[in-house]
Assembly symmetry: C2
Homo-oligomer: 416 residues x 2
């Protein structure tokens, strides 16, 4: 099946917004065996919109269009599709009720502006697609075996409609479903994972691919089958073998994040965590608390940007004098101080250089990370510089990886 995507809206052509709808839809299509051949963005201009929609209707089996469904005169998607298909727009009574109801919901104004009535219009080949997050229903247009699926432009309305309405429809019609399972690893390079999994790499369906990502190397296992269940039946044995080979390097699957994975482990092991952060400036704490429920195990973070703040909060001044503020020893003392000060089972200390200039003879990007549990210390360090924000981001992942490794060993009984 040949598909194309059309994103509609002058604000895209002015560069005021980046078209994330197209990349979202593009990423979803492979699982239904749909080949995406073209993507275009076009403004709220009747002639050009018609040109683009007409070409899509002629050359593609299915077209996904987003935007231009609002109530204003600039919103031309319905009118233009009606013109391209040579069909008449009419107000649909049921849709009129739906649109009016949206204005009567709790907290809304109660009165529907008359111009919103056009959002209740349909053509004979179109059926309305529910949009509980906004006034504009989508359209599912189908004629002569070809389809145009029209969704609203705001990403939160579009993705909701995709997941609840468009995707299930594509799945029903698809004779082959592609399912993927991603195993996320840490501590291994791309080449190493490739080598470890080499006995599995010749498999065709399911197939396996290796990808280097910001949070580690991912192994993606994909299978195609007439049904989702059969595809999973193909994936599971290969997944099991890959898990055996990769062992404890796998920290999560699919949409899992490292803060969530580490949080689950802390909760399972009944441990609490505290941090003392310098170079990362609170961003490890911020990442940990992005995960709902983190208050169960996260006590807090002492963001000691100034050296005197480190000392004030329990880092012995003589350690800083002797070894420097950016040192293994200071990171260790910070970990211990965080633990003690915030009464946590585990403390992590991190000191380094996020900025672009050398400090204490150490290059930009230097990070010293230590973990203390009251009886021992784990330590990790790195020197890698691609700018301030990348240095912080990388240090967050590194600290969480160190913590994860520790929790793995502990679960395996390797930590007393």
């Amino acid at each position: 099946m040949r598909a194309e995507i059309i994103s509609i809206g002058t604000e895209i052509l002015l560069g005021e917004i980046t078209d994330t709808n197209a990349s979202f839809i593009a990423s979803q299509l492979p699982q239904y065996g749909i080949d995406l051949l073209y993507v275009s963005q076009v403004g709220d201009n009747p002639a050009r919109l018609e040109e683009v929609l007409r070409r899509a209707w002629e050359r593609s089996d299915v077209t996904f269009a987003t935007g231009g469904l609002g109530p204003t005169e600039d919103d031309l998607t319905r009118e233009t599709i009606a013109k391209v298909l040579g069909e008449a727009l009419e107000i649909d009574e049921e849709q009129e009720r739906v649109v009016r109801a949206f204005f009567s919901r709790p907290g809304a104004s109660g009165n529907m502006p008359e111009r919103n009535l056009k959002q209740a219009m349909l053509i004979p080949s179109a059926r309305a697609v529910p949009n509980p997050r906004g006034t504009a229903p989508g359209w599912w247009v189908e004629r002569e075996g070809r389809v145009i699926a029209v969704m609203p432009g705001p990403p939160q309305e579009m993705t909701r409609m995709w997941q609840h309405e468009i995707a299930p429809e594509l799945e029903r019609r698809s004779d082959s479903i592609l399912v993927s399972r991603t195993l996320k690893t840490t501590g291994l390079g791309e080449g190493t994972v490739d080598e470890m999994l080499s006995p599995l790499l010749s498999s065709v369906n399911p197939s396996i691919g290796i990808y280097a990502r910001a949070d580690g190397v991912h192994a993606r296992i994909s299978a195609k089958s007439p049904t989702r269940e059969e595809a999973w039946d193909l994936i599971h044995p290969l997944e099991e073998r890959a898990r055996e080979i990769l062992g404890p390097s796998v920290w999560g699957i699919d949409d899992d994040t490292l803060p969530a994975a580490v949080g689950r482990m802390l909760r399972d092991q009944g441990l609490t965590l505290a941090l003392m952060e310098s170079a990362t400036g609170g961003s490890i704490a911020s990442a940990i608390t992005d995960y709902d429920g983190s208050s169960d195990y996260f006590k807090g973070s002492l963001v000691t940007y100034a050296t005197e703040a480190k000392i004030e909060l329990g880092v012995p001044a003589e350690i800083i004098t002797m070894h420097g503020a950016i040192s293994k020893e200071t990171a260790e003392a910070m970990a211990e101080a965080a633990r003690t000060h915030l009464h946590a089972d585990l403390g992590i200390g991190i000191t380094g250089i996020a900025g672009g200039t050398e400090v204490e003879d150490q290059p930009p990007g230097t990070m010293h990370i230590a973990l203390a549990d009251g009886s021992g210390i784990e330590y990790s360090h790195s020197r890698y510089y691609q700018g301030r924000e990348a240095a912080k981001r990388r240090a967050v992942l590194q600290a969480l990886s160190l913590l994860r490794r520790y929790l793995m060993s502990r679960a395996a009984g390797d930590v007393p």
Copy 2:
């Protein structure tokens, strides 16, 4: 001048990358008076790439193409343009030297793989555009008054080439330059700014537009003129009038960020800052330390996620017992504790609910923010919920706005 953008690469159609090149180029074109009419993405497929490039050559005065300039067989941009224009590809000796030199630079392998030779190819209508960040030169194709500007796909190579090569060329050819100055405000609603600036809104060149953004309401003043200097001469008087009207609500211009603006004020006033953060989980500290040089005025943040951590670090237990952990009084005590504990001139305390459930009878999104300077307290609170990350992001801006307002008053002598 009618323009279009074509982004080339199968990874875009697979949704593996979002096409940020197109939105970057789109955002740059208005200043040269270039109307962008179409954007398309196409994969590494010879027939479809030819179709898209041929249509662009026929309908657009200038086409900006990115991607497909690599050394592999999948990289087809040069070959396809040659075919569309009916011209022959030939190796350019000068370009061959440039590409070979890239492989001889310090740290490189020394030997150019033979397949990279195709990156030294030109057609008679094309000249090579330097690309110091990669092996692939761009192409500036010009014939019959029409232009195709071809840039590499990797964003860091593309934007460098844009800024140093493509933009100056467009500026030379443009008979009218559009220049903009954005004034960023805080503490005022979109309607208020609109009303305040209404005496200026009828101005046509320069014109002024009002935009609600995440970090406050922006007023953008734009002027068109044959030269950049003349455009600025048009902008300056209107900018001065707008600044007079908006007064101290303007916190920055153009690419300025609130943490940077507040940081400059702290440094100018010789003040230091410390935080105690609960609901924001360290993200205010992280935003402040994203700004280089923040160690001059930022002492640190006590991220007291757990109630016991608040008490441990100086919030009186009876305040929490009497008023609750999520209260004005606790925020004030946190501000004072941060100040005292980290020996800073100013302390900010923030407590609230970032998660989606009610706590202590207060709705999700509740944020209490207090600022203490040793003699008085400023306070701000809000209740607004659009999910966990939005609540944190919004609270960061709110805290920085509170701090900015305080520093403004202080500079004006309103604070003792």
